[in-house]
C-alpha cells in the first residue's frame, strides 16, 4: 500500500486540481441559507465549482450522506409512450459522470458496501444498474474523524473513526496539520496521480496509528453490541415488551430511514403527462404505514412500534442474514434528526442488557 503526506492547507488546491481534470467533485460545504435567527450551520455534500469554500474535515458529518449520489432520491427507470393505441417503451439515458466524493467520513464510506450488497447482483443475481454503474464511476476519498459527537456510535458496530473501509483514498489528519494519505485502490491511485504535485514523500504510519487510536477514545461505545444479532435470532424475543415500550413515542415519520446511509427501500410509481410517462424509482420508508399495507386492508406491520422493530431488526439481523453486509454503520444521523429523540442506541443498550443477563452482568466491572 502506498502512502504519502499532504498539507492540510492544500485541500482546496487538491479540489481545484480534480475539478480541472474534468471530474465531478463533491465535497462538504456550508449551505447558504436565508438569514434566520433559528439557523444552524449545516454541512452538505455538494458538487463544487472550485475548491475555495470547502469544509473537508470540518464538523462531524455532512447532513446528507454519499447515499444520495449513488442511490439517488428519485430517478426514472423507464419511459413509455402511448402512440396509436400502442405502448412503446423507451430507454432512459442516465449519465454516470466520473465523480470524486471528497472528504467522506468513514461511516458513510462503509455504508456503500451495504447498499451495494442489496443493489448489485450479489443479491439473487439481480443487478440494479442504476446503482452499480454510478458506483463504478465514483471514487471515494475518505477523511478520518478525530472525534465524535453525542450521537456517534461507530465503534459500537465494529467500525472505527479512522476506518478505511469502502475508501479509495484515505486521509487521516495528524496533529502537525498534515494529512496521512493512503492509496487503497486503483481508483484511489488515479486520484493520487492527479494530486501528485501536492503530495510529499511517504506518510508517517506510526503517527497515523496514534491519531486513529486517539480518535477511537472520543467515540462512545456500547458494551457487547455483538450480542444483538443472537438476541434477535431468538424468535421468542419478537414479542418482547421492549419493542412497544421504547417505540410508542415514534411518530412514524421517515426521517431516520431517509437520513440513514444504509437504508435502501424504495417505491416504484408511474407518472404521466399527456401520452408519455415515466416509471420512477424513489426513496420510500419502512416507517410509513402504507409501506406494507396489503390491498385487502391487512397490514403485517400495523402499529408504529412494529415498524420500528422492523427497522432495528433490519439493521442488526436482516442485513447480515440476507445480504451478508453490515446494516448499521453508527453514523448517528437517525439519532440527531429524530424529532422525538427515539434513539437506536437505547434499543441496542436494552438488547445488550437483556442478552447479557445474567452472566456478564456481575462479571463486568464497567457495567453501569
Amino acid at each position: 500500500m502506498k502512502t504519502a503526506t499532504l498539507q492540510k492547507s492544500d485541500i482546496g488546491k487538491c479540489l481545484d486540481l480534480l475539478i480541472q481534470s474534468q471530474k465531478r467533485v463533491i465535497a462538504p460545504q456550508l449551505r447558504p441559507r436565508l438569514d434566520s435567527p433559528d439557523a444552524i450551520d449545516v454541512l452538505m455534500l455538494t458538487p463544487l465549482e472550485n475548491g475555495d469554500n470547502h469544509q473537508v474535515g470540518q464538523g462531524i458529518l455532512p447532513l446528507n450522506g454519499v447515499k444520495e449520489f449513488l442511490f439517488v432520491k428519485h430517478e426514472p427507470i423507464l419511459a413509455f409512450e402511448n402512440k396509436d393505441n400502442k405502448v412503446h417503451i423507451k430507454e432512459v439515458h442516465h449519465k454516470y459522470p466520473e465523480t470524486i466524493i471528497f472528504g467522506v467520513r468513514p461511516c458513510d464510506a462503509a455504508s456503500i458496501a451495504s447498499q451495494n450488497a442489496v443493489f448489485s447482483s450479489d443479491n439473487a443475481g439481480y443487478n440494479d444498474q442504476f446503482f452499480t454503474k454510478r458506483l463504478e464511476n465514483t471514487t471515494i476519498v475518505t477523511y478520518s474523524c478525530t472525534t465524535g459527537d453525542q450521537s456517534c456510535f461507530c465503534t459500537s458496530v465494529g467500525l472505527e473513526p479512522d476506518s478505511d473501509r469502502g475508501s479509495d483514498l484515505h486521509l487521516t489528519e495528524l496533529p502537525d496539520n498534515t494529512l496521512h494519505v493512503e492509496i487503497k485502490t486503483p481508483a484511489g491511485e488515479r486520484v493520487a496521480n492527479i494530486l501528485a504535485p501536492l503530495l510529499q514523500g511517504e506518510g508517517d504510519q506510526a503517527a497515523r496509528d496514534t491519531a486513529g487510536k486517539e480518535a477511537h477514545k472520543n467515540v462512545s461505545r456500547i458494551r457487547n453490541s455483538h450480542l444483538i444479532k443472537a438476541w434477535l435470532d431468538d424468535q421468542s424475543n419478537f414479542d418482547d415488551e421492549m419493542w412497544e415500550r421504547l417505540g410508542e413515542k415514534c411518530i412514524g415519520c421517515g426521517a431516520c430511514t431517509f437520513m440513514c446511509p444504509t437504508c435502501h427501500c424504495f417505491d416504484i410509481v408511474d407518472e404521466t403527462r399527456g401520452s408519455k410517462g415515466y416509471r420512477i424509482k424513489f426513496w420510500d420508508s419502512c416507517q410509513f404505514d402504507h409501506f406494507t399495507l396489503h390491498s385487502s386492508g391487512h397490514n403485517p406491520r400495523d402499529k408504529q412500534y412494529k415498524r420500528y422493530r422492523n427497522r432495528f431488526t433490519c439493521k442488526f439481523k436482516i442485513y447480515q442474514d440476507k445480504f451478508n453486509a453490515q446494516g448499521c454503520v453508527g453514523c448517528g444521523r437517525c439519532i440527531r434528526d429524530c424529532p422525538v429523540n427515539l434513539d437506536i442506541t437505547e434499543y441496542m443498550k436494552e438488547v445488550d442488557l437483556k442478552a447479557s443477563l445474567p452472566n456478564a452482568l456481575r462479571q463486568d466491572p464497567d457495567f453501569e
Binding site: 449551505r31 441559507r33 436565508l34 438569514d35 434566520s36 435567527p37 433559528d38 444552524i40 449545516v42 452538505m44 447532513l63 446528507n64 444520495e68 432520491k73 428519485h74 453525542q150 450521537s151 410508542e248 413515542k249 411518530i251 412514524g252 415519520c253 421517515g254 426521517a255 430511514t257 431517509f258 437520513m259 417505491d267 410509481v269 407518472e271 420512477i280 424513489f282 426513496w283 420508508s285 410509513f288 402504507h290 402499529k303 408504529q304 444521523r333 439519532i335 434528526d337 424529532p339 422525538v340 429523540n341 427515539l342 434513539d343 442506541t345 437505547e346
Partner: protein, 297 residues
C-alpha cells in the same frame, strides 16, 4: 415547580383519573429531552420540564386511538402555553373533547430553537423565535397549574410575522420562487413535517392516497412544491405556530414560513387567531357576508 407537577401526576394516576400522562423526560444525551408516556405512579419521577422541552406533545393526542388495548381513554398531558393552544385548536375542530384530556399547564419562559444550541441555559442566542412573540408563557386553559397562577395580560397588539417571512416578502416573486426551489431541492419527502404536526390529524393523508393521486409521490421539485403548498393550505387558520415542522425537518428546510405567512393573512383578513377559543370556528369553515373581496373581478 416540577415537584408539584410530579405530585399531581402521581395523584392522577393513583386515583385512575387518567390512564396515561404524556410528558417530557431526559433524552438520550444531555442536550435533549424526549416525550414519555407515564402509566405507573412510581414512574412520575422521570418527568422534567426545562427549556429543552421543545416537542409539541398534543400530536400524540391524535394518535391516542392507536393504543386501544391499553385502555387509553383519558389522557393527562403536560403542556406549555403554546401546546395548550394546539389542544384548544384540536377541540375547536372536534378532534378531541375537553373531557378527554387533563391538562397540566406549565409556565414556560421559552424553549431553545434547536437541541444543538443548548449550552445549559436559555438566552437570546438560542431561544426559538416563536417564544419571543409568545403571549402564553403562562398557560390559559388548564386543569392544573403548579403554584399561584398570575394574571395574564393578553392585550399586546398582534405582531406580524417573523423577520424571515418579511425578508422573503421583500423579494420579488421570481426570487421567492427560486428561493423555494433551491430549498425544496433538498426535500426527500420523509413527511416529518406532517407527522410532528399536532394539526395533521387525518387518518390517511391526501399525499398517501392514490385514487386520485393529487400529489406526486416522488420527491422531484414538482412533487415537493405540490406537497408543501397542499400542507400549508390544509393548515390555514389551524396552525398554532409551534414551529415543529421546521425543527423536525432533517434537511433543515424552513417549512413553517408558509404557516407563519398564512397566520398573518388569516389575522389581517379574518381577524382570527388560532388556538385561543374552543368555540370559535376556524376561518375556512365559516364566512362573513362582508369578507374582503378586493381581489375579485
Amino acid at each position: 415547580m416540577i415537584e408539584a407537577i410530579r405530585t399531581q401526576a402521581r395523584n392522577l394516576l393513583e386515583n385512575k383519573e387518567v390512564d396515561v400522562i404524556i410528558g417530557y423526560a431526559e433524552g438520550s444525551d444531555s442536550t435533549r429531552t424526549t416525550p414519555v408516556f407515564i402509566r405507573k405512579p412510581e414512574e412520575v419521577s422521570r418527568l422534567i420540564f426545562d427549556p429543552r422541552c421543545i416537542n409539541s406533545l398534543p400530536l400524540y393526542l391524535n394518535k391516542r386511538h392507536e393504543y386501544p388495548q391499553k385502555g387509553w381513554k383519558r389522557t393527562g398531558i403536560i403542556a406549555k402555553g403554546c401546546d395548550i393552544r394546539a389542544i384548544t385548536q384540536l377541540i375547536a375542530e372536534n378532534q378531541l373533547t375537553r373531557e378527554e384530556v387533563y391538562i397540566i399547564g406549565v409556565p414556560c419562559d421559552g424553549v431553545v430553537s434547536h437541541f444543538s444550541k443548548w449550552d445549559g441555559r436559555l438566552h437570546d442566542g438560542n431561544q426559538a423565535t416563536k417564544c419571543a412573540e409568545c403571549d402564553v408563557h403562562t398557560p390559559t386553559d388548564c386543569d392544573f397549574f403548579p403554584g399561584e397562577r398570575p394574571e395574564v395580560d393578553r392585550s399586546a397588539p398582534y405582531k406580524v410575522s417573523a423577520p424571515q417571512v418579511l425578508n422573503l416578502m421583500g423579494l420579488n416573486t421570481d426570487k421567492r420562487f427560486d428561493y423555494w426551489r433551491q430549498e425544496f431541492d433538498r426535500c426527500f419527502k420523509c413527511y416529518a413535517c406532517r407527522e410532528v404536526c399536532p394539526h395533521c390529524s387525518c387518518n390517511i393523508c391526501i399525499t398517501d392516497r392514490t385514487q386520485p393521486n393529487w400529489v406526486d409521490q416522488a420527491a422531484h421539485t414538482k412533487g415537493v412544491f405540490a406537497w408543501h403548498i397542499t400542507r400549508a393550505m390544509h393548515l390555514v387558520g389551524r396552525c398554532t405556530g409551534c414551529g415543529e415542522c421546521t425543527r423536525a425537518c432533517p434537511m433543515d428546510i424552513q417549512v413553517d414560513l408558509f404557516n407563519q405567512r398564512l397566520k398573518d393573512v388569516v389575522q389581517e383578513s379574518f381577524g382570527y387567531k388560532s388556538g385561543y377559543s374552543q368555540d370559535e370556528k376556524p376561518p375556512l369553515i365559516t364566512y362573513k357576508t362582508d369578507d374582503s373581496e378586493d381581489f375579485i373581478q
